[in-house]
């Protein structure tokens, strides 16, 4: 769907393109530094800066250190509540996962589009990125499950107290719902981010097209659309945080299934 004059193109913002317009080919593979890679580096930089500021180890923490400890304590408590005392061991992975997804989501909401020619790119709006994070979580669940319990891990798929007649059917159903987990994990974050940004782009198109159509139509179309954009931006900031939390929470629940089988 190409954009003609007046037609709203909500999908161009998700295009992964090399930064300075030139592709860098190396042995037949395109290894150019893309806008996606730039925003991942910015996410890493922001997270690194945030953690550096909080690692001064004062006994009475200042505000920055208290903020960092707030996040680490939040993830540690979530893991302990969902997995039990062994949950704290997974804090490095789940904390990194949560902070990366949160900061990547928020980076996509930064309004650098006011500078002509630039636009913020949401790293997690691609199924390649979110799918990989989901595969990473799922692989850790499988590795932990099989290294702790061996083949007894398959007893996870036969709930307590099922009649012997139903065990084959229950096993298949439980196995299928287990295998859907990485797909649903990655898809949830991907669609939430993509849908939010498409909605914002469509509303922004209404504002611009309304302004181009004259003062009368501008008052009726552009002003309500702009007010709606402000409200939906606030909602999207909340959704960024909720989706990061849900990803980390579900990862800790799946780890609970692997660590404590029933």
């Amino acid at each position: 769907m190409a954009a003609e004059a007046g037609k709203i193109d909500p999908m161009h913002q998700f295009l992964v393109e090399p930064l300075f317009g030139r592709h860098l080919m190396l042995g037949g593979y395109d290894v150019s530094f893309t806008n996606s890679a730039l925003f991942m580096v910015l996410t890493l930089g922001a997270l690194w800066l945030f953690m550096l500021g909080g690692m001064r180890r004062e006994l009475v923490p200042g505000r920055w250190q208290a903020a960092v400890e707030g996040f680490t304590g939040f993830i540690g408590n979530m893991l302990q509540a969902n997995i039990g005392p062994e949950g704290r061991k997974f804090t490095p992975y789940v904390f990194s996962l949560f902070m990366f997804i949160l900061i990547a989501n928020l980076m996509g909401m930064i309004p650098i589009g006011v500078v002509p020619g630039l636009h913020a790119f949401t790293v997690t709006s691609h199924i390649t990125v979110t799918g990989l994070l989901a595969i990473l979580s799922f692989s850790i669940v499988l590795i932990v499950g099989f290294s702790r319990h061996g083949f007894h891990f398959f007893s996870l798929f036969v709930p307590h107290g099922t009649p012997v007649v139903m065990i084959p059917l229950m096993f298949v159903i439980e196995l299928l719902s287990f295998l859907v987990r990485p797909f649903s994990l990655g898809l949830r974050l991907f669609v939430a981010m993509t849908a939010g940004h498409i909605l914002l782009k469509v509303l922004a198109g209404f504002v611009v097209n309304g302004l181009n159509a004259g003062p009368g139509i501008a008052a009726i179309v552009s002003i309500p659309s702009f007010i709606l954009m402000i409200g939906i931006t606030l909602l999207e900031l909340l959704v960024c945080a909720i989706q990061a939390y849900v990803f980390a929470l579900l990862t800790s629940l799946y780890l609970n299934d692997a660590v404590n089988l029933h």
Binding site: A195, I242, Y245, L249, L253
Partner: protein
């Protein structure tokens, strides 16, 4: 009906699923709120389960959005 028109029509029908998703998510939060107002001291301990329920209801609705996107931009 030619293929392009049928795809747009199908995408419009898939959007109905998103309205149903709104019903589901509203149900989850509404039940939580009405129960939390009866027993406020127990509300904070169930916050994790609230978000699990929200995620599950939202995902199934967003699958309808995925169908709409596939019809519009992929097929």
């Amino acid at each position: 009906m030619d293929a392009e028109a049928a795809k747009l029509f199908g995408a419009g029908l898939a959007a109905i699923g998103l309205g149903l998703a709104a019903l589901g998510v509203g149900n989850v939060f509404g039940q939580f709120l009405s129960a939390a107002l009866r027993n406020p001291s127990a509300a904070d301990s169930q916050q994790g389960r609230l978000f699990i329920g929200f995620a599950a209801a939202e995902l199934l609705g967003l699958l309808a959005f995925v169908i709409a996107m596939i019809l519009l931009f992929v097929a």
